[in-house]
Every structure is written in structure tokens, then in C-alpha cells.
Symmetry: C2
Subunit: 257 residues, 2 copies
Amino acid sequence: MSKPLILVTNDDGINAKGIGALMDIVKPLGEVVVMAPFHGNSGMSHAITVKVPLRYKKLREEENLVVYGCNGTPVDCVKLAVSEVLHRKPDVLVSGINHGSNASISIIYSGTMGAVIEGCVNEIQSVGFSLLDYASDADFSQIVDHGRKIVSNVIENGLPEETCLNVNFPAVKKEEIKGVKLCRQAKGMWKEEFDKRIDPRSGEYFWLTGYFENRENGSTDTDEWALSNNYISIVPVEVDFTAYDKMNHFKKWNYEI
Amino acid sequence: MSKPLILVTNDDGINAKGIGALMDIVKPLGEVVVMAPFHGNSGMSHAITVKVPLRYKKLREEENLVVYGCNGTPVDCVKLAVSEVLHRKPDVLVSGINHGSNASISIIYSGTMGAVIEGCVNEIQSVGFSLLDYASDADFSQIVDHGRKIVSNVIENGLPEETCLNVNFPAVKKEEIKGVKLCRQAKGMWKEEFDKRIDPRSGEYFWLTGYFENRENGSTDTDEWALSNNYISIVPVEVDFTAYDKMNHFKKWNYEI
């Protein structure tokens, strides 16, 4: 049997420490091709690039590993790799390891998870990894074994149709990790606190800042609960956004004009 | 009772014809504030701007209508308007009218729907409108009455918690519109066909192009079916991406390292 073909990407950029750790995780598991943004793409969500052309470049090659950089978003990286670079559709796509949480509502802003959802739409088994440490020198060594076990599970057991995974790791030592919890996405939102400043020409400008507000009331089945209790959270994510259980509400509406 | 406060945005930019039509739709229904990108933001999905500061500018003001432009993405526009500009949380957010379809999987790339989902996360009743005509001079006059009826329904009946709407209009004359269909998001994907070119300095570059591939087998309950049969499609959209019905698959996995 040929080795699985594993596509690696991220949103923190090709030089981030987290994608290095992810390469280490998957190298023993298959043939690895990396296509990641040249620069940071945090907060790019599922954005695609339509105003400027895309370019990519081979950066290095060693046994079982080829690394490319790209000027586009994480989703562009997936599209370019699948359409232009790889000789066949990858068996697995992994994205990350993100520097910082992508739990709860952060999934919708995340470039890491944008790439994962794009892989899923392309019928590739796709998993996003994030560590709850925003530092550029975060310690990813504590989660290598757990990460590799999860990717091995994906390779061995597969993922259900139209389903990908959002995996977040608590920022604790390996021996403090209590295990893996299958979770739902916690209810929550980012509360904005724009940092208003005045430029040297007297123009107002705003930096987007804010803090995460958890809107759960102590439920123990969410990713936020798992992470704050030192569990690794796994949320199965779907690409069909239809609110099936809300359909009835709209049947009573009058649409006549 | 005071008039509803209605926030208007889009992804085609403040000068697009579609947002003008949307202002016409909502002006009779409440106090209208527009905050839209200065330039086109198609394909920006749920992206937020973190590398450059945000700026906004009042462009015009008349009775019941104030118009602002912003250098950010559609999601930035919503965040800035809600946090910095509006005196209270809007009752309704409308986004569009997009020049082109946001049915099926296009929802995940759509800046129009990114703004709508952001509104929903902020507990604002939010609706996205799109017309199946990409032309910059598309004829939006055919759908004004239907659009206003849908916004009126939102104001009168409300939307269920954590639910927003993705409304698409077929590009046909008003008298050819057969009515409104409540739908699910059709299964489908964009198949890439990168347009590879060589620049004057011999560098390769790629333009992202492609075509939509419908993966349904004749189901009549999808947005794609409704639109191709001259119905207006309404898909209720949720912001919880958890694949609840796939949880069991993962319970059999072995996570021991």
C-alpha cells in the first residue's frame, strides 16, 4: 500500500513554529507536502484572493517532504496545492498548529479552520490543530504525541462525509493533559474593544481588539469547558450551515407581495 | 414605538448598485445606517483586519439615512458600526444586495454572508440578499418588493436564536418569480481552474477561476433547485458548526498515546 499523501498548511505563515511542529507530527505517517502562506494570515477565515494573482515557490525538499510558500490565504493554499501542485488528491489535510485558540466562535474567523473546511468541501479528510498559546515561541513539543495519534485515527478510521475536525490543545505540560474530549462548539462571542488612536496627520484610526465572552452556563460538553479543564477538545464540524431545526419558524411567514 | 434601527452593509463596496437597491428596500422600514467597505471585498468571507488599522468616514446624511464607508472587510464594518458608530444595537442587519449568487457552498466564501453571520453572533437579526447576476449594472428593481416583504417579516416575526437568513433571488423579471421557497443549502463545490500566466519578468502567476458543481441528485428542497426554477430561496443559517449527528463516529476512536 502506498503511503498516505498529507497536505499541510496553516494561517500563521510558513515560518511559524506551529507549522514546524505539525510537519514533525505527520512526517512519520506519510508523504508530506506543505503549502502555506509566506506571511501571517490570522483572521482570514475562508477568504479567497480574487484581486491579485497567486504565486507559489518551492522552498525546500527532503525525503518524503516538499515545502512550498504562497502569497495567498490559507484557502488559496489548499486550492493551489490540490489543483496545480499535487499529482493526486491528498488523503489527509492538516492545518496549524495555530498559535492561539480556535475553540468556540473563533472557528468562524480562523484561517487555520478556513483551510480545513476547504479541504472538507474538496472531499479530503481534514483536521485543524490549535494550541492555546499565542506566543510565537509557544511550546508545541508537549502535544506532538497526541496530535500524531489523532491524525493516525483519521488515516485508520476515516471521517464521516462532509465532516472535518477542530482540535484544540490546552497550553499545559503533557503530563497535565487529562485526555481527549469529543465536544460541541461552545456558545460565545468576541466583544470588541476598538483601540482608537490619532495619526500624525490628525486622522482617527482603530485597532481591532477585544476579548472572548463565553455564553455557556456551566455545560460540560463544550470545547471551552474541556480546554479549561486540561482536556484536548475535538469538535466535529460540518460544512452544511442550514439550521434544519429552525425551519418551522419560517413556515408561518407570509411572503405575498 | 420608535422606528427599527437598520444597519446596512455589503461586500461589493459602498458604490455598488446592489447596496443602493438595498437602501431603497429598507428606507421605508426604519432608521437606516450604512457602513460598507470603500472597495470591493468579494470572497472575503468572515475575514477580519488585524494587520492594518481601520478607518471610516461619513459620506452623506439625509433624513433617516446616514452613510459611512470603511477601509475594512464586511465583518469589520459590522464590528465598527456596532461598537463605535451606532448609539444602540441595531434591530436588523441587512447585507447586499450581492452581485451574484451566494447559494449552496458559496456561503462560505461570501463577504456578504460573513457580515450576516457576524450580525447573528452579535444577536442582531441579520439577513443577506444576493441576486444571481454578477453584472455591475444588474437590474435590482425587480426584487425590491420581495426584499422589503422579507425584511418586514424579520421585523414583525423575529428570527430564532442563533439563526440568520441567506436569501437569493433568481435574475428574472418580477412577474416570472414564482414565489419564495424555504430551502436547505445545496451540496456543491467550486471546481478550480487556475488561469496560469507568465509575467514580463518570466514569473508564473495564477488567477483563481472556476465553476460551481452541483452535487445534488435532483432534490427539490435545495436553494439551487429553487433558484433554477425561478423561486426566491431562503436558507436559515446557524452559527454553531458542530456536526451533532456525526458524534457517534468518533466515540469508537482510541485516543490513548
